[in-house]
């Protein structure tokens, strides 16, 4: 599985990428939406894990632009939103995608990653 991580917190994405790599997942990371768009023009990913609040181009907007470039790519959103209400609002914004609140347990993330990829396999 090839995964793209996008978050403006470099230490967060670089460490998460390393942890995914230890689990046999090929993860690349960038810290801006612009860099994500440039990378996706030349490389293919199965899944993108996006922070919702990325400066300049938000995670939600980035997803819309990435979908044009790679229609088959799947998405998981990460957010710093704290409350249950915020979570619901965010989930609604993210459409049918998966949504996790920071800080995320790696086991929960892996579970969601499998779930989203399985959904792809089902053709949903």
């Amino acid at each position: 599985m090839r995964v793209l991580l996008v978050d403006d917190e470099e230490q967060l994405v670089s460490t998460l990428a390393e942890r995914l790599a230890l689990r046999g997942i090929d993860a690349r990371w960038v810290t801006s939406s612009k860099a994500a768009l440039e990378l996706v023009e030349t490389e293919t990913f199965d899944l993108a894990i996006l922070d919702v609040k990325i400066p300049k181009i938000s995670g939600i907007e980035l997803k819309k632009r990435l979908q044009v470039l790679r229609p088959a790519m799947k998405y998981i959103f990460l957010t710093g939103h704290g409350s249950e209400d915020d979570f619901k609002i965010g989930a609604a914004e993210a459409g049918e995608d998966f949504y996790l609140v920071k800080p995320v347990k790696i086991e929960s993330l892996l579970e969601k990653m499998n779930e989203v990829m399985q959904r792809q396999g089902d053709g949903k």
Partner: protein
């Protein structure tokens, strides 16, 4: 309570909510980094148990990352605590340099989201005014929020202070027009302050009286 006082109270609550949300978001990011670094330490320990070599330099680096984020989170909480306590305070003499430095720190996430660099130049000498600290912080926050929204290509906003014959001015630059936010306009009146836009110098001045309690309305 008059409708005007009610409007000021609502404005204060709105700003308090917005600032708290922004701060909590930043705090979540610090916690998320600590979480990943601690998780990686756990992963490496697990691998070491299985016989893979563990590099001391790698461990030191991860521990340093955690310590850095704890310091960051502590700074965020200290700033939020100062801001929260300002809501308890009545009219008092305040150091404007300290107040601006705090508001700039609280606005850092808001600025980052717009890719704006926010710079504060502290005055060489302390500048003090007697005012309502909480509402002054709210006013500066609302001004910054509007200025960020219309910043366009100019991505560096500078804040400074200048003594005025009747008090002191908080200066935002480069800014071409006065703020129009209804809450900010109400707060200007409440703090007996006024705004002027200097189009030649591209500055917005918020002039505060030396002492709110003796300033005529």
């Amino acid at each position: 309570m008059s409708a005007y006082q009610e409007s000021i109270g609502e404005c204060g609550l709105h700003c308090f909510g917005s600032i708290s949300a922004s701060v909590s978001h930043e705090l979540k990011n610090a916690l998320a980094i600590i979480n990943e670094n601690a998780g990686l330490l756990e992963d490496l320990s697990f691998m070491a148990e299985k016989g893979l070599p563990l590099e001391p330099a790698r461990l030191k680096s991860l521990a340093a990352n955690i310590a850095k984020q704890i310091q960051r989170a502590d700074g965020i909480i200290r700033n939020m605590n100062r801001f929260a306590h300002s809501a308890d305070e009545a009219v008092k003499c305040i150091d404007l340099g300290d107040t601006l430095a705090l508001t700039v720190a609280l606005s850092s996430r808001l600025a980052a989201m717009k890719s704006i660099t926010l710079d504060f130049k502290p005055p060489p000498q302390p500048m003090c005014v007697t005012t309502r600290l909480f509402y002054l912080e709210n006013l500066i926050w609302l001004c910054l929020k509007e200025i960020f929204e219309r910043a366009g290509v100019e991505k560096e906003i500078c804040l400074s202070l200048r003594p005025q014959p009747q008090g002191a001015a908080v200066i935002f630059s480069p800014v071409d027009a006065p703020v129009t936010d209804a809450g900010a306009i109400d707060l200007l009146g409440y703090l007996k302050a006024y705004q002027t836009a200097d189009s030649q110098r591209r500055e917005l001045l918020i002039t505060l009286p030396v002492d709110l309690t003796v300033c005529p309305s």
